[in-house]
Structure formats: structure tokens, C-alpha cells
């Protein structure tokens, strides 16, 4: 993993593909969380997923993040079908190919910022010295080079999310999965975080972001709309200027972008 610090061309085969994916939960009666959904994430693409509660956003995230396996259809990451893998192979795939960013940050509370960033590399058996220098590089990258030894409780929400983003980048993943990354942040901090995602996109990383805020979703290249577990439609927003720039002085209300 030493030379995996930048996305190289061998990763260009790193397409994430969902083919006719279905997932049904049985809670008394069957709940079709996803039905016949097909989606391809090209390398370097930035996709937003929108949809009302219960539309299958989380299930899709869990599928693409190898936390869950489809009942029907296949999910392929870098050409490997997730459904065919054993539990520990999927864990390995999660650790190396996927970087998670959560709404609630989900940092390990007793570990410092640097240790949190190190953890995915610990599970991936990266040697100690490499881990440390990489954690420092990544925290520098997200602007927290001076907060290496701070515990999560000593950091603000925005700083915690930056640590989480640095952690997501630790093993140079094929795909960054972000679940409402700005949901717990005020609009200004949220805008900073979105800028960071745009920079990561500009560096050529593949990002999929679930959000229910349109102005956040418009920062992506396209928006995948889900409804009742099915793909509703895909909207190309690569040329759209975000409806409400977060810095806009007139529309300071955080939900100013609500176009419903």
C-alpha cells in the first residue's frame, strides 16, 4: 500500500457497479428496501443521492459500502462481486476500497485524531512508520496538521468531520461514501466541508454522497433520485450553479435551497 498514495491509472478500472440490485428485509412482512436498481459509478465521478426517508438511500449506501449484500443482482467493486465474498473478504474490501464519512462523524472516542486516521491502516496491516507519516499527511491535507493528538471531544464538529474524511482517505479507497456529511454541521462549516469534497473530487477521487439538501446535492455532477426503493430518475447537474451558495448573505437560512 506504500505507493498507493495517489490514485494511479490502475484504479481507472475501479468502477463501482450495481446491477439489478434488490434487497428485502423481513420485519413481520417483507419490506422491499431496494428493487431492481442499476447504477454505475465511473472513476472520478461525484454522485449525489436524494430521496425521501425510506426511499432506500441507506440501503444503497450499505450495499455499495459492502456492509450488506444484495438479495438479487450484483454489486461489483473493482470488478469483484461483493456477494461472492466471505465476511472477512468483505471486511478487507471495506477497509481498502471504501472510505466512509458519516453524518455523526463516528470517530473512536478514546483515540486521538491521528490514531483515528491510523485505524483503517492498522486493520489493513500497514507498517507503523508508514501509518504515522500518512496520518500526518492526511490531517495536514484537511487542515488539521496542528491537531494530531487531540481527542475527538476536544475538536469542533467541523474538525471532527475533517478527521473522519482524513480517516476515509487512509487506505486510498476506490470510493468515498458520504452519508449526509454536513447534516450535523451549521451551514458555514458545512460549506467548508463541501469545499473539501469538491477538492477531493478535483483530485480525481470517486465520491457518492447521500443528502436531502438540494444545494448540497448540486455540488455533485449528477443527482440520483430514489423513490420507494427504486431509481426514480438521474439528473445531470454538472453545469448547474448551486442554487444557494452557502455564503450568500441574502439567503442565510440553511434550508434556503429547499426547492420542493
Amino acid at each position: 500500500m506504500v505507493d498507493a498514495k495517489r490514485p494511479d491509472d490502475s484504479h481507472s478500472s475501479g468502477v463501482v457497479t450495481a446491477r439489478n440490485v434488490g434487497r428485502t428485509y423481513y420485519m413481520g412482512e417483507p419490506v422491499h428496501a431496494l428493487q431492481d436498481l442499476s447504477l454505475t459509478l465511473e472513476p472520478g465521478s461525484f454522485t449525489a443521492v436524494m430521496g425521501p426517508s425510506g426511499s432506500g438511500k441507506s440501503t444503497l449506501m450499505n450495499m455499495l459500502g459492502c456492509l450488506d449484500t444484495p438479495d438479487e443482482g450484483t454489486v461489483e467493486i473493482d470488478g469483484r462481486s461483493v456477494g461472492d465474498l466471505s465476511g472477512s473478504q468483505r471486511a478487507k474490501l471495506r477497509g481498502t476500497k471504501i472510505g466512509f464519512v458519516f453524518q455523526t462523524f463516528n470517530l473512536m472516542p478514546r483515540l486521538t485524531a491521528a490514531e483515528n486516521v491510523t485505524l483503517p491502516m492498522v486493520f489493513n496491516d500497514v507498517v507503523d512508520e508508514d501509518r504515522r507519516s500518512r496520518a500526518k499527511t492526511l490531517l495536514d491535507r484537511v487542515g488539521l496538521g496542528d491537531r494530531l493528538d487531540h481527542a475527538p471531544t476536544e475538536l469542533s464538529g467541523g474538525q471532527r468531520q475533517r478527521v473522519a474524511i482524513a480517516r476515509a482517505l487512509a487506505n486510498e479507497p476506490t470510493l468515498i461514501l458520504a452519508d449526509e456529511p454536513t447534516g450535523n454541521l451549521d451551514s458555514e462549516t458545512g460549506a467548508d466541508i463541501m469545499e473539501l469534497f469538491e477538492e477531493l473530487h478535483a483530485e480525481g477521487r470517486t465520491i457518492l454522497m447521500v443528502t436531502h439538501e438540494r444545494h448540497i446535492a448540486e455540488r455533485a455532477e449528477r443527482i440520483v433520485h430514489l423513490l420507494d426503493g427504486k431509481l426514480d430518475y438521474i439528473e445531470d447537474v454538472s453545469d448547474v450553479v448551486p442554487t444557494v451558495p452557502a455564503e450568500d448573505s441574502e439567503a442565510a437560512a440553511p434550508n434556503g435551497g429547499d426547492d420542493a
Binding site: 450499505n62 459500502g65 456492509l67 450488506d68 465476511g87 472477512s88 471486511a91 478487507k92 471495506r94 477497509g95 481498502t96 466512509f100 458519516f102 455523526t104 463516528n106 470517530l107 473512536m108 472516542p109 478514546r110 483515540l111 485505524l119 483503517p120 492498522v122 486493520f123 489493513n124 496491516d125 480517516r167 487512509a170 487506505n171
Partner: protein
């Protein structure tokens, strides 16, 4: 994940809950500690009773009457006079026997030394040659008696007579039959290895003082003794003499065999065998008591399991995070197992410390020599580690089964 990393992370989890971890380990500390303390105490007691004997090269065969202790462990020795003069003569004829020194006591009522007097003492008969064998002690002063009119007293008796007795002094013994004898002290003997419970003694030659007799099966009255010490010429003859002596007492020819009570046996043993028999009983008692202390250890193990289960529940979300960022089930099991292993190890190290410390206090209170039960320390640490692992198994398994999707949904 590398084991070293697990230790680092698990250690962080333990130190993150100092009070809880401490209370958890105390269960193990007390369990292991009480076992070790009892082992120290038992071992020290045994050492105090038997430790001074150098049994390896002793050329002594003991013939004693033994029987089981009622309602208790082990055996006890009886002092019925059943070994007759004829028995002694027959044993003396066995090849390799140097001489036979029978034991017996002469009933006596009072002993005077100047203005001092005592009634608690025992008059024993002895062969003067046996004092130089060094099995049971050594002379502080003087030497063995040369003949009638002289006596060897032990240091305990010397103390109970005021501590001023010295060689050449006269003491006066009143025997139970009313006769009085003035005896000159020829030596003061330190009977350090008599063990606890043996009171003050003095030794006199068999003749002319000893006259305990029994009626033999053949209808005659003969002198009889309570036990027999057979001294062997060389160590090489020891087994042979032991076997021959034993055979004699089973041959049907000996008086003792016919005089002994039905519920008692005649035991023919080397000193080594006798001490082995005694120390086996000490060990049994010690292990029995330590076993009771071991219950505390079980309680401690349940404590670890309990706290680990709580810990898994409490850290469900963390487990979910770790799984999301690439931890597989083995990593999770490893983390929790190592955590409970560390608790077990700390507990057993603390327990060994507490046990040795507590044992030392008890031992010095009882005035026994301190011993270090190395075997038991090793066993205790192994058991502590085992307890840690075993009580961590179920919680670790539960941790591994945590569903990351559920766990991450938790607030």
C-alpha cells in the same frame, strides 16, 4: 490486525475505564491471592515441621504403629508397647543392621532442678549412639550419657527449668512408681526437628530404668517398646533392611504382629518414606483449603465476563465503526479477548503479590519459615490467564456478531 496493535488498543480501553477495570481485577486478585496465601501458609507449616530433616542419606528404618485419624485427614502414630525384646533381637540379626534402638517412655511425675521443678516432661529411653546420628538434632553442650546415673536433656526442658541448667548439674526425677533418681546432666540436646507438639524431654539409658512389659502371645512377660529405630550400617543396605524388617513383621513370627490392635498397622519405613507420607497429607489439606479459596476465583471470572458483556453492549457503536473501516470479525474477537486477557494477567500478578504478602504476614505471625510456592505461582498465573481468556470468549463472540449497520444507526 497484528497482536501488538490489539494490545495497544485494548490497553487503551482498559485505562479508559480505570475504576471499572480495577474493580473487575480485584475479583481475580482476591481469588489468586487467597490461594497463594494458603499455599504459603501450608508450605511454611510443612517446612517448619519437616524441613530440617536431611532425609536423603539417612540410614534409619522406622518401625511404628499407625492408624487412621478418625474424622480427619491422614494417619496418626500410636505408642502402645507392642514391640517385644524378642522382636528387637530378631531384627538385630538381619544382615546390614548396625544396631536397634527401641523407643519407650518411663512414666514419671515430677522433675526438680535446684528450686525449679516441672511436671510436664517425658522420660525417654535411648541408645547413646543415636545422638550422634544427627537425624533429629545436635548437642548444644556436652555429650551422650556414658551409662546409668546420667541423662541428656533437651533445650525445651532446659528452658522450662529456668534456662540455667548446664552439663554436670544434677536433676532429680520422681517416677510414677514412687522411686526417685538423681541424674547428672551429660549433655543438652537441641531437638530442633521434633516438630511442634513434642514437649520437653530427657533421655536415659534403657537399663536400669525401663521396665515396661507385656505378656507375649507365648505367655511370657517381656519388655516391650512403643516403636523401633533400626540403624543400618550403610546406605546401600537400607532397602534390603527395610524389606527384611517388613517381612519379619508380616511373617507371623513377631510378637508385635499379634499384639497390634486390629484397626492399626505396623509401618516399616525409611525416614524418607515417612516424611513423604506426612508431607502428602499436608499437601492434601493445603489443596483442600486452597480449593475453597478457588471459589473466589470463579466469582472473579464471572466478574470479568460480566464487565466484558457490559463493555461490548456499551461499545456496540465503536464496534460498528471498526467494522465499517475494515475490521473483520477476527480483529474484533482479538480486541475483546486481549482486553479480558490483560485483566486476567493483571489480576493474577496482583494476586500473586497479595498472596505472597498476605502469606508472609501469616507466616511471620505463626513464626514459620517463609517459603515461595513456585509451582503454585506458575499455576496461579496460568489460571489467571485462562480465566481471562475463558471469561472473555462469550463477550468477544458477541462483539464479533454485532451488525455494523445496526450499530452505526444507534445514536
Amino acid at each position: 490486525m497484528k497482536i501488538g496493535e490489539s494490545f495497544r488498543i485494548s490497553w487503551r480501553a482498559i485505562t479508559g475505564h480505570k475504576l471499572r477495570s480495577t474493580l473487575t481485577t480485584i475479583g481475580i486478585v482476591i481469588g489468586i491471592g487467597s490461594i497463594i496465601a494458603f499455599m504459603v501458609l501450608g508450605g511454611a507449616f510443612e517446612e517448619d515441621a519437616l524441613g530440617g530433616f536431611d532425609t536423603e542419606e539417612q540410614t534409619l528404618v522406622l518401625v511404628q504403629t499407625q492408624g487412621n485419624v478418625e474424622n480427619g485427614f491422614g494417619f496418626q502414630t500410636f505408642s502402645d508397647p507392642i514391640y517385644t525384646a524378642s522382636d528387637v533381637e530378631r531384627i538385630e540379626q538381619i544382615d546390614g543392621v548396625e544396631y536397634v534402638d527401641p523407643d519407650g517412655t518411663i512414666p514419671a511425675s515430677q522433675l526438680r532442678y535446684g528450686d525449679e521443678s516441672t511436671v510436664s516432661f517425658t522420660v525417654r529411653i535411648a541408645d547413646p549412639r543415636s545422638f550422634s546420628k544427627n537425624v533429629s538434632g545436635s548437642f548444644v553442650e556436652g555429650e551422650a550419657f556414658a551409662g546409668p546415673g546420667e541423662t541428656v536433656i533437651d533445650t525445651r526442658l532446659a528452658e522450662s527449668l529456668g534456662g540455667n541448667v548446664s552439663v554436670g548439674d544434677e536433676i532429680q526425677v520422681t517416677f510414677s512408681d514412687g522411686t526417685r533418681e538423681r541424674l547428672t546432666v551429660s549433655g543438652i540436646f537441641n531437638a530442633e526437628n521434633q516438630g511442634p507438639g513434642v514437649g520437653a524431654s530427657l533421655w536415659v539409658p534403657e537399663d536400669p530404668y525401663y521396665n515396661v512389659t507385656v505378656e507375649t502371645p507365648s505367655g511370657e512377660r517381656e519388655r516391650a517398646y512403643t516403636s523401633i529405630n533400626v540403624w543400618v550400617e550403610s546406605f546401600e543396605d537400607l532397602n534390603h533392611v527395610t524389606d527384611q524388617t517388613d517381612a519379619y513383621f508380616q511373617s507371623g513370627e513377631s510378637d508385635a504382629e499379634r499384639l497390634v490392635d486390629d484397626d492399626k498397622q505396623i509401618a516399616v519405613q525409611t525416614l524418607d518414606q515417612l516424611l513423604g507420607q506426612v508431607s502428602e497429607i499436608f499437601d492434601q489439606v493445603t489443596i483442600f483449603i486452597a480449593g475453597i479459596a478457588g471459589i473466589a476465583l470463579i466469582v472473579g471470572a464471572i466478574g470479568i465476563a460480566n464487565i466484558m458483556i457490559v463493555s461490548v453492549t456499551e461499545r456496540t457503536r465503536e464496534i460498528g465503526i471498526m467494522k465499517a473501516i475494515g475490521a473483520n470479525n477476527r480483529d474484533i474477537v482479538q480486541l475483546f479477548l486481549i482486553e479480558s486477557l490483560i485483566l486476567g494477567v493483571i489480576g493474577s500478578i496482583g494476586g500473586v503479590g497479595l498472596g505472597l504478602g498476605g502469606g508472609y504476614l501469616l507466616v511471620s505471625f505463626a513464626d514459620f519459615p517463609m517459603i515461595y510456592p513456585t509451582n503454585w505461582i506458575v499455576i496461579a498465573v496460568v489460571v489467571g490467564v485462562g480465566v481471562g481468556v475463558v471469561s472473555g470468549l462469550y463477550p468477544a463472540w458477541r462483539a464479533a456478531r454485532v451488525d455494523p449497520i445496526e450499530a452505526l444507526r444507534r445514536e
